[in-house]
């Protein structure tokens, strides 16, 4: 009896596990098989007018996008509401993007489960391009008038180095600003620095008066890289991008001197104690509460800084090596943009509609940021009137933008190994490691 029961159970168990494995295999292979065939077999003429075909039958698209705070939620919601008016038959099923260095998306790609539309940066574009997981959008960009809508100054956000379009951008070339508290500078008799020497003097004065010279959320490593880039771009206007492309080494005079200058300033007490373990909330609180005289962040912090400090806050042009360098490199800003935005899965069952929707929501996303979020830094032209007036700091920035040159943010670097190395090494600099150590670590990663 026991033998019989046991045998029966074994068979049942094996059967179950085989069935489970079988169903897994099916689910893995199905999307790519079924996803590939429609797009491959669909004649171009049939989908020439995607809007027309789209309006005929309901389409449900999976979209993987940022949706975390007001700056990402509100533009997305606006874009979706506008889409509902334009293409009422299209329904978007949102999957919120994880802050995981693109791992979820890469796993989706590896398992043939990629959403129809997804937000992609340069890293994802480069990886997916090789594996055929991202649609080349050149044709669609022209067809839906996206190429014409891109601002000339933001053309670098549309095309990658190979000259093709893989994502519809919405963000323009953003930049790092050195915010400062005007009142604290006045109270302490400190001149807004224009040279490294004046910056050093300002640091010493603030330290003497128990004020933190610069609040930095150095736990996140990209602001550390940005601070180094501010120094590096005073010596070479390409800043860290030259290192990223292997066109320069950290041991080159310009980059080495930049590291030494920064290390000296950190040693003089530039940053708050424990900077490398502080996040944005902690570091910005120090600045907003008047405990820190300066703060480093992107231009997207203009609104929060204005709300917290009113007319006490402003941004300064980066100090230079000397007065003439200050003037000549005044419009070279750390930061910038790169190819990225809403991309399309080439294996989607509705490639045509997905491409049209991606182009549409990118433009609407930019439109909302321009009209309602107080930022002129978008990738595409916007015809609508500004609803929310720009804060004075943004007005000042808008005047500088036309002649501005930018480098790159850490997240826009193309060599992942170099990116990780410079992030770690820059954070080390903020914690007091030497410029020699920085140079050694960065040089090791360059060209790998």
């Amino acid at each position: 009896m026991i033998k019989q029961t046991a045998a029966l159970l074994s068979v049942a168990l094996l059967g179950l596990s085989t069935a489970a494995c079988g169903s897994n295999n099916n689910s893995e292979s199905q999307p790519s098989a079924s996803g590939a065939s429609p797009s491959a077999s669909e004649p171009a003429s049939e989908s020439a007018s995607a809007s027309a075909s789209a309006s005929a039958e309901p389409v449900k698209l999976r979209i993987y996008a940022q949706y975390a705070d007001d700056d990402t939620k509100l533009p997305y919601d606006y874009a979706v509401a506008e889409l509902k008016k334009e293409m009422p038959n299209v329904e978007l099923e949102l999957e919120i993007q994880a802050q995981d260095d693109g791992q979820k998306l890469k796993t989706y790609a590896a398992t043939g489960n990629l959403p129809d539309i997804f937000q992609a940066g340069l890293d994802i574009i480069n990886t997916f391009k090789e594996s055929g997981n991202i649609l080349q959008l050149d044709e669609y960009s022209d067809k839906y008038g996206f190429t014409d809508a891109v601002l000339p100054s933001a053309m670098n956000t549309l095309k990658t180095d190979d000259g093709h379009v893989y994502a519809f951008p919405y963000a323009g070339n953003e930049m790092i600003l050195l915010y400062y508290n005007k009142e604290l500078f006045e109270q302490n008799g400190v001149k807004v620095p224009t040279t490294f020497e004046e910056w050093q003097q300002a640091v010493e004065t603030f330290k003497k008066n128990d004020i933190i010279p610069l609040a930095l959320f150095a736990k996140e490593k990209w602001p550390d890289v940005a601070l180094y880039d501010i120094f590096a771009s005073r010596y070479d206007e390409a800043g860290i991008t030259k290192l990223d492309k292997g066109l320069a080494k950290a041991s080159d005079e310009a980059y080495k001197t930049a590291a030494e200058q920064l290390a000296a300033l950190v040693k003089a007490g530039l940053l708050q104690k424990g900077a490398t373990s502080m996040n944005y909330d902690q570091a910005s609180a120090l600045f907003f509460e008047g405990k820190a005289a300066m703060f480093l962040n992107g231009q997207w912090d203009i609104e929060a800084s204005t709300n917290a400090l009113g007319d006490k806050v402003d941004w300064m042009y980066y100090p230079g090596t000397d007065a003439s360098n200050y003037e000549s490199s005044k419009l070279v800003f750390s930061g910038g943009g790169g190819p990225g935005g809403y991309a399309v899965n080439p294996k989607s069952k509705n490639v045509e509609v997905a491409a049209e929707v991606a182009a549409f929501i990118s433009r609407k996303y930019a439109e909302f940021k321009y009209t309602e979020r107080g930022t002129p830094i978008v990738a595409t032209k916007v015809d609508k009137e500004i609803v929310k007036a720009y804060p004075p700091m943004m007005e000042k920035l808008a005047q500088a933008i036309p002649n501005m040159k930018t480098t790159a943010f850490a997240w826009g670097l193309s060599n992942p190994k170099f990116k990780a190395a410079i992030e770690d090494a820059s954070q080390g600099l903020m914690a007091g490691t030497t410029a020699e150590q920085f140079v050694k670590e960065v040089d090791k990663a360059i060209g790998q």
Partner: protein
Amino acid sequence: MNKYLGNKAAIAVFVLPALLLYSLIVFWPLVQTVYRSLFDWDGVNTASFIGLDNYKELLDDDLFWTSLKNGAIFAALIAVFQIGLGTLLALAISDAKVKGRKWLRISFFMPVVLSVTVVCQLWLSIYNAEYGLLNKLFELLGLSYRQDWLSDPGVAIFAIAFVNAWQFMGYHFALLFAGVKSIPEQFVEAAKIDGASKWRSHWLITLPLLKETYRFCLVFAVTGGLSAFAQMFIMSSGGPGTSTYTLTYLMYRSAFRINEFGYGSASAVVLVLECLIATLVINRLVARERIIY
């Protein structure tokens, strides 16, 4: 009994579910990791076979040695703290004269049930160099000693290891306390009759009889320390610089930040081997004979 042991089908039925689960969840991924470590692979595109190159590169990588050293520091610190303090507290709580034993028992175990993120956030505030509790405590005591606990490359790994040691001390305390309680009372009574003091009887009776529990605790503490990740991920992101990297963090960086899954797999294989060797050594050196009362 022999009748059942002779029935191979019955053995298969009872063993198969666990074996299948173990194979699917542990063994197969492990085999995959070893296999993948022989490739140059970014996780998405076609991998190319490179033999043992990832391992060779690992040996030349300064980060690997930093990670290895940090794992050893982490493991040593938590083993000493958790087992040392756990023993003292277990012995104290097992003493009937100690008041509020139940309450203390619960308090010691409480951090174990908290999420690692909550504990890390708590200690981030305590360690904060500007307004953290620890530095304020020194200030209150009139001491000029201050530390940049998490931003000093030489101190950060100890500060982070202490967080793990503090949180999971209660776990080891519970194991040791159960061990103390399982020792037959007549052993201690006999020692008392022979005139042994409380600490002498603990030294000569309780602690030697806890050998098996120690072996268990040691394996947990050492392997847990070598594979530490969550605390450095939440509290320091491996920083400042690379000063709090461990092998698990190196694996994360390689696979997820720089798209080198092959290299990440190689560091994972080294980690598994390291834990395996540590477990074998502990099992060989500690409590080789089974204690039966």
